[in-house]
């Protein structure tokens, strides 16, 4: 198990405090900068490793950044704190985005990112809770995160804890039936302590979701399963923040975050081939320049 990086964790705590004190414009800037730094980190990780899921990493990073830097009640130095909020990344193939975010929050030293996908690295191509603090369950095969999160939400209820469970799903993975078993359970049990965030980038590995096995109307599907549904721009940090923290009713909440796969890098945006294509050195430097601009 990797250990926390106390200095970065202190920076993260400062960020959270400054964010809490800041006005909307500054808040937007802070999360935008933070997310784009993680995008750059992620691109370099993928370049070094020669593998990764760049498109989905870039689409989910604003969601993860908003959660870890503005929402989740967690402590990078106490990853096992029982009453922490839970964040489950069901779309485990975007582990790179999670690792970049966790390292930026001080859950483990950023230097570890250089080992991504290397021999014996703690940072596998898909996240492992036994090795990486901040990872709540091992994901990778699709359709696993929501049932496990339902279990965590039931546990929160049994323990009468105020902790909240957030689970981030890809839109493509909603084609897995296990999600709908779990969605039914969450709706029936009125798990208002559960929020599912759908990274709705409308692309899966080989094609558009709607050309493969269409998901729309996704909001109606979740409503029919007993959920409250919010639909927001998935790169609008303040809209995400509002959706993640809005007062909950008596039902679980589904946040459909409309995103762009490859977000932030013009030549990758909304292009199916960047699902897991690896950028070369020139492309990484062009992307880095765009993200810094």
């Amino acid at each position: 198990m990797l250990a926390a990086d106390p200095r970065t964790a202190a920076d993260w705590r400062r960020f959270r405090q400054q964010f809490a004190d800041a006005g909307p414009e500054r808040r937007r800037e802070m999360l935008w900068e933070r997310a784009n730094q993680s995008r750059t980190t992620d691109l370099h990780m993928i370049g070094r490793a020669g593998l990764g899921h760049v498109g989905g990493d870039l689409s989910v990073l604003d969601i993860l950044t908003t959660l870890f830097f503005a929402v989740l009640r967690v402590d990078p130095e106490k990853p096992d704190w029982p009453d922490r909020d839970r964040l489950v990344l069901s779309k485990g193939h975007t582990a790179g985005a999670l690792y970049a975010t966790l390292a930026a929050a001080g859950f483990f030293p950023a230097a570890e990112l250089d080992t991504f996908a290397g021999p014996h690295s703690a940072l596998n191509g898909h996240p492992n809770r036994v090795k990486v603090p901040g990872v709540e369950t091992n994901t990778g095969p699709l359709g696993h995160g929501l049932p496990v999160s339902v279990g965590m939400a039931v546990a929160g209820r049994l323990a009468a804890s105020s902790r909240h469970v957030y689970v981030v799903l890809g839109d493509g993975e909603l084609q897995e039936g296990s999600n709908w078993e779990a969605a039914m359970t969450a709706g029936n049990r009125r798990l208002s302590n559960l929020t599912a965030v759908i990274d709705r980038n409308r692309l899966q590995q080989g094609a558009r979701t709607e050309d493969t096995n269409g998901l729309d109307p996704l909001d109606d599907k979740f409503r029919a399963f007993g959920w409250d549904v919010l639909e927001v721009g998935g790169h609008d940090h303040l809209a995400l923040l509002d959706a993640f923290t809005a007062p909950r009713g008596e039902r679980p909440t589904c946040v459909i975050a409309n995103t762009i796969k490859g977000k932030g890098v013009s030549f990758m945006e909304d292009r199916v081939e960047w699902h897991h294509k690896v950028p070369n050195a020139e492309q990484i430097s062009a992307a880095t320049a765009e993200l810094a601009g």
């Binding site: 029982p82 369950t137 091992n138 095969p141 696993h144 049932p147 496990v148 039931v154 546990a155 049994l158």
Partner: protein, 320 residues
Amino acid sequence: MSAAVHAGSQTFDCRMAFAEELIALARADERIVAVCNDSVGSSNLVGFATEFPDRLINVGIAEQDMVGVGAGLALSGYIPFVCAAAPFLTGRALEQIKADVAYSQAPVVLCGMSPGMAYGELGPTHHSIEDLSWLRAIAGLGIVVPADPAETRSAVRWAATSATPVFLRVGRFKVPAVTGERSFTFGTASCLHDGTDVTVVAAGTMVSRALQAAKEAAAEGVSVRVLNMSTIAPLDEQAIRQAMRDTRAIVTAEEATTTGGLGAAVAAVVVAERAPVPMRMLGVHREFAPTGNTAFLLEHFGLTAADIRAAAVELARTDD
């Protein structure tokens, strides 16, 4: 070595012992919860549901969800007993068992109810004979097959304390009491009858039959050791190697497929030794069961005391 334990004539459904023990544990420890797939009745959870309605999470007919929910509970500090008919628990939710439970090291107790061919006439869809082969391939997952109600109770008590996940087969087909006062020790075989010619390694429903076989073989002048191998994974390799030294051959008997269950596990130990001993693996080999009740099917597949005796005697004589 222990004195012989002979099966009595009274027989028991191990689910009763399971349910009673689970309720007793739940009274003492509020972390104990049960998760099931509409199987409140068939998993004998009615009493649990009455006494602990909030701690029974019935997700309905949804096994993938059921195992994922169990993992989420375990990762949140609860001790979930995830109960479902063994064929559906293992077959339908195999990837959840692999990824959410074993790989994630979530200490879930997976309770495979009515395993083997307990559902007799309902047919191969409802038989769970592949479970041992499937699950033995998964790293970090303990596999426990109690032989009688007392061992079931003891195994349930142990499972609640296990820091690692476990699959527990909870038998429905009635068996006699065979383990006496011995308590279950994870990863350790127990010798229920000592012998010097052949060792029978048996699990679950086969243990009482193996004891009967040993008695019958003795009448034919063949001395049979009976090992109750109630932990299939990790296997008590030491007990197998000891059997290879003390006896000349090994018979395995299981209500499961021979492709990857107990027999295959024992064989893997035997062939790795410098001087392997001859073996016979009794079980189901690549065949779906015909129609019939459990007793008939066990006979059909050569899993009676007479079959075990015949295998042991044949091996003893071949080797003479």
